[in-house]
């Protein structure tokens, strides 16, 4: 394994863009008369500084996506604290898209959500379409796209507003090799611009590109 690169001096001197401390989360399962609580997160803590590309790995079912959803705000936590910026980009594991809407309509809706003006939205959209090379699908409905192109759209929507913190949950599933490499180049460019990035995967082969790696083990994050 190649050693992770060190944080830059600038990054180290800045406050974390993401600070997760002691997050706990349990789920209930079974019928009401035989309810069981299954603890998935038992005090998970991690930090991401501006300009860092941090990895979070773990076995299947270790709670990576649960932690990601707690950070994003999709799941309520049972305990602990999460501090994150307002300008957040989230790329979920499953592309959460509307099957009958076109790629262009998705960009329009998210530009409204991010409160981007028309000029900035168009510039950002065109840049991402070019970067990920799927501009020719702008007028296609999601139901007409391949899995890889859906994933490109999923990623592009998270980046449209140039977030301070980017959360990526298994972001390259379905990418071909060329797109996979381009994805890492994109991530590194944004890290160099000061974006904090947390990438979750059950398999992270690109250790040398990462500032730091955590493993989620028994509901806690262990720095590797």
């Amino acid at each position: 394994m190649t050693a992770p690169i060190a944080s830059s001096a600038t990054a180290a001197a800045t406050a974390p863009v993401l600070a997760v401390h002691g997050v706990a989360k349990a789920f209930s399962s079974g019928p009401p008369w035989h309810r069981r609580r299954v603890a998935v997160l038992r005090g998970a803590s991690l930090e991401v500084l501006p300009g860092e590309l941090v990895g979070l790995v773990g076995e299947n079912g270790s709670g990576k996506s649960t932690l990601m959803q707690v950070i994003v705000g999709l799941l309520a936590r049972d305990g602990g604290s999460v501090s994150r910026p307002g300008r957040l980009g989230y790329c979920p594991q499953q592309p959460l898209l509307w099957e009958k809407l076109t790629v262009a309509e998705h960009f329009d809706l998210f530009a409204q959500a991010y409160r981007l003006d028309d000029q900035r939205a168009a510039a950002s959209r065109d840049g991402l379409l070019d970067e990920l090379r799927f501009g020719r699908y702008l007028g296609y409905r999601v139901e007409e796209l391949s899995g890889g192109t859906r994933q490109k759209l999923n990623l592009a929507l998270a980046l449209l507003h140039e977030p301070q913190l980017l959360l990526l949950d298994e972001p390259y599933a379905g990418f071909d090799w060329e797109t996979y490499l381009r994805f890492w180049e994109m991530a590194e460019r944004r890290r160099a611009d000061g974006m904090g990035i947390l990438i979750v995967s059950h398999l992270l082969a690109e250790h040398e590109r990462l500032t730091r790696i955590y493993e989620l083990r028994d509901g806690r994050c262990v720095a590797l």
Partner: protein, 231 residues
Amino acid sequence: MSRTVAFAREQLRAPFTLALLIAIPALFVVSAAGVLSEFAGALGGSLAGDASVALSAGWAAAFISGALGFFQAASSRDADRRLALAGLGPVRVAASRIVASVLLSVVAAAAAFAALELRIDVAHPLHAAVAVLAFALLYLAIGVLVGSVIRAPLEGSLLVVFVFLLDAFAGPGMSGSPPAWAVSQKAADILIDAGTGIGSPTGDWVRLAIVTAGALAAAFCVFVAAARSRA
């Protein structure tokens, strides 16, 4: 592009949705009036003739709107939550989603009312049109409410149909006096009266407005709650 237009367009692009919005209410009015009368007779009710045809238009609009509301809310839930989380907020997403559904329910109600007008000479067409729309909006609200809570298509659609059947068989003209929980009771009263040439008292209209607005408000609140963080 407004969000409401995008959400309405999303539904209209589904194969057969527009056709079903028009065809199901029309077919229901043509074929179901006789069946409603027979059921009413078996249950000891008095529903028959023009009253039965008029009521079938309401149930037609209710059925398609309930299904539409459920599938709008359930099938788009995850993407809607993502959009809310991205900065739009659950309130604005809920408002856009429900207004888009209302637009489609108006189409279904218009189709049902047009079929009713073709089938019988409605004595109070404006009253009938408003009552059919109220049926559509009430069941749209029920569909959205169920779809916000239950994601599974089978369980959710069965629940909407179950409410529909209970309400239909307990409603005016079908049995003795309708129970208080029969949500479409006032809409049915007004529709039956309109079909048979009787005007409805102001109190019925007020109660219909309260029940319809309350149902839509409840659907809105449940949708917003479902779009927030889950426990």
